[in-house]
């Protein structure tokens, strides 16, 4: 049985500032905790408990702080190899030392835009509290519907982390357009049964967040894709319905980007699509006419179906990018395939090549640029890529990030986290602030050390360029907005993040 990581941790008495195993975002079968991850978890608990005691802090408060995170990175060093993370001996005890390390003492040094953040309308968690399973589990559980829903999303993204702006990222949901009598449906009426995040809802919550903040804190994507409205008699795209929805999402919802899942089929057409097929090209051209030229595309993480699974391979990025040089394609998860549910043997199962650092399907995405150096409109995004690799094996994170930057350039790598699957993104933010590629890998693979300037681009400046965000204006506006005032009050009153990851892991015992 699979349970949410936070529930597993509570049952096991674990409170760790970084997830101690990879959690599933429902795009792959969760993998078992590895022996090394078990060791890291044990060290975090032992050292964190002892450090908290030395500082006369509760373990809960310690683990929710950057001091706890420093302890966690030191634990990874002890297990995966000394020097992977640059953590001074004083950092588990001195907040000033941590702040100096992460930002050089300059708070707000990085303007962070998370282009892959998710919440749900609590649809996928169902009637959990009343389920037979919940009754039989024997330990106290949070209401996970609440944990993953909008209010908690706002708390974990904005109060519990340094994220300045979010892009509410889409899922493969197709809206219903009309009632049986032809009336145009509105808002909740447009949500198909079981759908978790339709475009209207993302737009509504984007607006709600921005109105509450009194500034622009949120952007949103639209889910419409070329196979969402389909004429089943002719087995062709329903262009009229697609245009109607496109105009609604652009003009009414005012979406900021499309979010495509080529391997999904919400209209039950029996197939998916490819970025370089005729329907996708028609969609791109129609969208271009309406001024929308940003396409965020899920690649990598796929499913077992022979018919659909291969459509998440990024091989189709090449022709789409070449044919549409004025359109930008942000490739989510940096196309990490992650096909195996194997824990210990993950590298081999994903065709990791120690000579090149390549692995499935990330290599395909890298090859697109290697073969076509002129391509300038493809952007690897790193949600559930950087954080997954950091937790799985920090050396793999060095290869993944090293290759992204070496191949596409630091000005084309885009920050995302896939939170709330991973809980509050603060741990991933501090991980990337500390992150560096080893001298050995730089020498052997030609990677460059990641500079502060690179990190600033990846954390937010690249996304700002793609989404037309004026970072200088935002830097002035956000410190005075209502959300920042709420955050300061929250922190002054002792508000703490809870280290809950909401993704799935196997239940022990």
């Amino acid at each position: 049985m699979w349970i949410r990581k936070g529930d597993r941790d509570r049952a096991q008495g674990v409170d760790s500032p970084i997830p101690t195993q990879v959690v599933s975002n429902e795009e792959f079968i969760p993998r078992p905790q590895t022996e090394k991850q078990k060791q890291v978890e044990q060290l975090i608990m032992e050292d964190g408990t002892a450090n908290a005691k030395k500082l006369n802090m509760s373990r809960r408060a310690y683990m929710a702080s950057s001091l706890g995170l420093a302890t966690a990175f030191l634990a990874q060093n002890k297990v995966f190899g000394a020097g992977l993370w640059d953590v001074g001996k004083e950092e588990p005890f001195e907040l000033a030392a941590v702040e100096q390390k992460l930002t050089g003492g300059k708070k707000g040094k990085y303007f962070i835009i998370d282009v892959q953040s998710h919440f749900s309308n609590a649809g996928p968690v169902g009637n959990f509290r009343n389920s037979e399973t919940a009754k039989n589990m024997g330990f106290q559980l949070k209401n996970d519907g609440e944990a993953y829903a909008f209010k908690n999303f706002a708390k974990e993204m904005f109060l519990d982390s340094e994220t300045a702006m979010v892009v509410i990222s889409g899922v493969p949901t197709r809206e219903e357009q009309r009632a049986a009598d032809g009336r145009v449906l509105i808002d909740a009426e447009r949500t198909p049964r079981g759908a978790i995040l339709p475009s209207w809802l993302m737009a509504q919550k984007r607006t709600e967040l921005n109105q509450m903040a009194g500034s622009q804190r949120a952007l949103c994507q639209g889910n419409l894709a070329p196979n969402h409205y389909w004429n089943k008699e002719t087995s062709t795209i329903d262009r009229a319905a697609t245009i109607e929805q496109m105009e609604r999402e652009i003009e009414v919802y005012r979406i900021d980007s499309w979010k495509w899942y080529c391997h999904t089929d919400p209209a039950r057409t029996g197939n998916g699509f490819q970025l370089d097929d005729d329907n996708a090209q028609w969609f791109i051209e129609e969208s271009r006419k309406r001024g929308k030229k940003l396409f965020s595309v899920h690649k990598g993480y796929s499913y077992q179906s022979k018919k659909l699974g291969h459509l998440a391979n990024p091989q189709d990025v090449e022709q789409a990018a070449l044919r549409n040089p004025d359109v930008n394609f942000v490739i989510y998860h940096s196309a990490l395939k992650h096909g195996s549910s194997d824990g210990e043997n993950w590298k081999a199962m994903n065709d990791y090549n120690p000579e090149t650092g390549d692995f499935l399907w990330h290599k395909v995405l890298m090859d697109v640029k290697r073969k076509n150096p002129q391509i300038d409109n493809v952007y690897p995004e790193i949600g559930s890529f950087f954080n997954t690799l950091v937790v799985q094996d920090p050396i793999m994170a060095m290869h993944g990030m090293g290759l992204n930057i070496k191949t596409y350039g630091a000005d084309h790598v885009v920050w995302g986290t896939d939170c709330l699957w991973w809980g509050s993104p603060q741990w991933a933010i501090e991980a990337f602030q500390r992150f560096q590629i080893s001298d050995e890998l730089c020498e052997k693979h030609g990677y460059k050390k990641i500079t502060e300037e690179d990190k600033a681009k990846i954390f937010g400046l690249n996304a700002a360029r793609l989404y037309n965000v004026d970072v200088n204006a935002q830097r002035k506006a956000l410190p005075a907005d209502a959300l920042e005032r709420i955050r300061q009050t929250y922190l002054q009153r002792g508000g703490q993040r809870d280290n809950d990851a909401h993704g799935w892991v196997r239940r022990l015992g």
């Binding site: 049985m1 699979w2 996928p124 169902g126 389920s131 037979e132 493969p172 077992q304 179906s305």
Partner: protein, 98 residues
Amino acid sequence: MQEPAWDFEGQPPFEEMSETGINLCAYFDAMSDAQLQTYRPSLSDQELMAWDGNFTSEDTLLLPCCESEDVDVQMYRRFIEQCIRYRNSVRHRLSSAA
């Protein structure tokens, strides 16, 4: 023993097939015949979820990437029973070829 090349996913759909349905067929194609043959319709819902091992604490199957529709026990039973009928019809032929 080598598992025959099951293709439940490739069979004509026995009901209107959503992406979740297509993936659920593929899920059963990956299930070993030995495991499948231990399925009993008489399993209670709780026993069924334990038998499969990939249900979540929210009583739905963790079927990767199927974000628009949950696989509950009823849907699971409908598909596995159809899959058993499929395998019974092709087992001899595919096993000979394997």
